[in-house]
Subunit: 470 residues, 2 copies
């Protein structure tokens, strides 16, 4: 292998003196995920500013036996953008590919480079009276490239789909440095195999996404957020059913929160307050929105009134202003941070068919509580998509290390019930490093074989994000 110093100087020839980081201290933030769970090391961090520079780096890596770890905002939860530290990895930061190349308000589409943040694109869309709908808690830092590589989900999937559904075209650098220039902005294109699909959700292991053509949507002119208290997950499902039947595409968010979740946010975010008078076992935060003026309000008020009348929900309150809507959203968005402040937790990101949700919650809680009676179950999240962040909080005052040592035991219970319910052990967070063993355990052998064959085809030397996914 080429001498480290020579590698650094070669890379500087490609991207310029200041865009290669090789000092260990300066590299440190790139070598660890934001939660500090995955740590690695790299030969260097390289920051190209163009697709051609990305291609040149890939070719250089190929010529010299180096691996490449593509990195966007590094906000992932499964260690997918952190190097393993196997001694031959370059971190390829897409941060400088940060231009919005063009926006087409007639076609409702945009061409954007991989390093643009989700919030950056949302703001640009808004400036053109359009909506880019993908929304995540980490959207200020998370990038378009990362969202494509992980097929990101979030709170608007119910109405707008996952990232995959928002992609019209991709520019991709292949393992050998060739570039697919696939940035057409077409809603219909059946001119051969849709090869971009291979790269979406492949977590940087099959190619490096450098830019994308994405869908935009009309900007909502009416929007109403509501916060409702209800008795049980069964009631939440009935509420969802009623809401979908009577509002259809106007329902854009439907999030489930158990009382413990609200308690934790109220405790750790002192500015927050309970929007409802009484205490309820479960809560749903939902949002209606429409490009048509005043429709969302009209429909929302009717739906909530009906739900109360039918005793499907116990209480419900509307946001009377944008500020109040932000307050409701904060109760949901601050939940993960409140969990961290509260102490240790064991987390899962699962999905099952909707009808299986109440049974799943009952069975998982029962079996987990039977082995750890003081654990605090905290399943919450995107009920509208059948996707729960099925987390467990350590008992107050318990030993974090001892608690976390039992993670695998808890995972096994959760994933077994999820598999029995025809669900997924990784709904929106992907595989990365941390779920590779789960993948080989829960995925069928034929699908795994096809995945390995795709990996061998698109990355024959195993240089793209090694040790991730397959």
């Amino acid at each position: 292998m080429r001498d480290h110093l020579l590698v650094v100087s070669d890379l500087r020839q490609i991207v310029g003196e200041n865009n290669v980081i090789s000092d260990a201290d300066l590299m440190a933030p790139y070598c660890v995920d934001w939660r500090g769970r995955f740590r690695g090391s790299a030969l260097a961090v390289v920051k190209p500013a163009s697709t051609d520079e990305v291609a040149a780096i890939v070719k250089y890596a190929q010529a010299h036996g180096l691996s490449i770890v593509p990195q966007g905002g590094n906000t992932g939860l499964v260690g997918g953008s952190v190097p393993l530290g196997n001694g031959n990895e370059l971190i390829l930061s897409l941060a400088r590919l940060n231009r919005i190349r063009s926006i087409d308000t007639a076609t409702d589409s945009v061409v954007v480079e991989a390093g643009v943040s989700l919030a950056g694109l949302q703001a640009e869309a808004e400036a053109h009276e359009r909506l880019f709908p993908l929304s995540l808690a980490s959207e200020g830092t998370a990038t378009i490239g990362g969202a494509i590589a992980t097929n990101a989900g979030g709170t608007a999937t119910l109405a707008y789909g996952n990232m995959r559904e928002l992609v019209l075209g991709l520019e991709v650098v292949l393992h050998d440095g060739r570039i697919i220039h696939g940035l057409k902005q077409l809603r219909k294109d059946n001119s051969g195999y849709d090869i971009k699909q291979v790269f979406i959700g492949s977590e940087g292991t099959l190619g490096i996404v450098t830019a994308a053509a994405l869908k935009l949507f009309p900007q909502p002119k009416s929007r109403l957020t509501a916060f409702c208290g209800l008795q049980s997950p069964e009631h939440a499902l009935k509420f969802l059913e009623l809401t979908k039947r009577s509002s259809g595409a106007l329902l854009t968010t439907f999030e489930l929160i158990p009382r413990l979740g609200l308690d934790l946010v109220l405790r750790h975010f002192p500015a927050s307050r309970d929007p409802l008078f009484a205490t309820h076992h479960w809560y749903v935060m939902l949002e209606f929105s429409s490009a048509a003026a005043s429709l969302a309000d009209m429909v929302a008020e009717q739906v909530i009134a009906t739900a109360i009348e039918l005793a499907i929900i116990e209480d419900g309150v509307f946001a009377k202003s944008l500020a109040q809507s932000d307050v409701f959203w904060a109760l949901r968005e601050n939940l993960p941070s409140a969990q961290t402040k509260e102490g240790a937790s064991i987390k899962h990101d699962i999905s099952v068919p909707l009808a299986r949700i109440p049974g799943l919650i009952e069975a998982v809680n029962r079996d987990v509580l039977s082995v750890m009676p003081d654990i605090r179950p905290l399943p919450f999240g995107h009920l509208g998509d059948g996707n729960l962040h099925y987390n467990f909080q350590a008992a107050i005052g318990s030993d974090s290390r001892a608690f976390l040592a039992r993670s695998e035991e808890i995972h096994a219970i959760v994933y077994r019930h999820v598999a029995e319910a025809d669900g997924s052990f990784s709904a929106e967070h992907g595989i990365g490093q941390v779920k590779r063993h789960q993948l080989s355990h829960w995925k069928d052998e034929i699908s795994l074989d096809v995945m390995r064959q795709l990996k061998a085809l698109f990355d024959p030397d195993g240089r793209l994000n090694p040790g991730k996914v397959v």
Copy 2:
């Protein structure tokens, strides 16, 4: 190669005596497309009734050097489901895989076998107060398997996406007879590469889809169809823009028709009548629908009134009843048949970014008319998706054969302008047999190479639908 009679008797062992057709006359309808443009021959037509039987046939074909042409409703327009007649092809009809395996109204999903017709699934969904939105002129015959294999589009794509966006999971028989059991009904599943995407739109060349898990939607409770006259494609675009901005997801269809299109329908379908008093150069048929009662009417009336006020459209009329809505739809749906009745036509299925549509129509018409001054341009179709069926009708009384002999010349003009506008020469009909040479001409070499590599990976012996796509 195994003797023909032995092949037939072997296949009868797999699917039963009555489910193998080898008589040339009985095979004839399977060996030609519905327009009579593509003719081939086959060793036999095999009609399995289960996924296991499909797998057994594939293994048998592999063992004996035979090829397989999967066939659904055989309604395609590019010869994708017709054998070439190369002497070793079996037609594998999916007609007997015609069960709706399950329907889940909580999850809004259905598991359906490949041979179910689109109309059959639409009816089943409706019986459960749900909507299966994919809608095509040939939906009575076209099958789910064919729609997945071709990533079918149609008139509801604007709101609900192409077939790809409707697929939650697939059951696929691979080239070697292995079966991928991928029928999970999840809106979010990032547990590894999404391998089903490879098979969607691959036209039966990479694997055989035997069943699918598909999305359903709430049934519209309000729906309003309108028929509007306007001056030009520019005005149609402005109208689309206004409509999207003010109705968002409520706009579910937006179809452009030139006066010639309406003329042909009025001429060849005597029961039809012009919905508007005056004559207009162009027409738009659009539909609004919503799961929320009365919303579609409310929004539609407002939008049309505004469009007239702003002189974006010249006139517009609403369907006052379901019957009248059907009349409007018939004007659009009968257009292809009216073209056939009128005489010979040269057809294209193209898409471009929306803003390019008016310029494209102007440039293509100019250049085509300059080489054939009496040709009659008839671009119509799914303007909302940027997808036009850019057809040309022969002059009245002209010689069809001489006209059609100039097809390639016209194709070259159309596709050159489409390429210059960053469009696609095959928006929703696929490649099949007929557009293979266009594919190799208009697709970039790197994408073609990736396509060939995928073909080599998923069908190393070239036995799946040979001579199609790649």
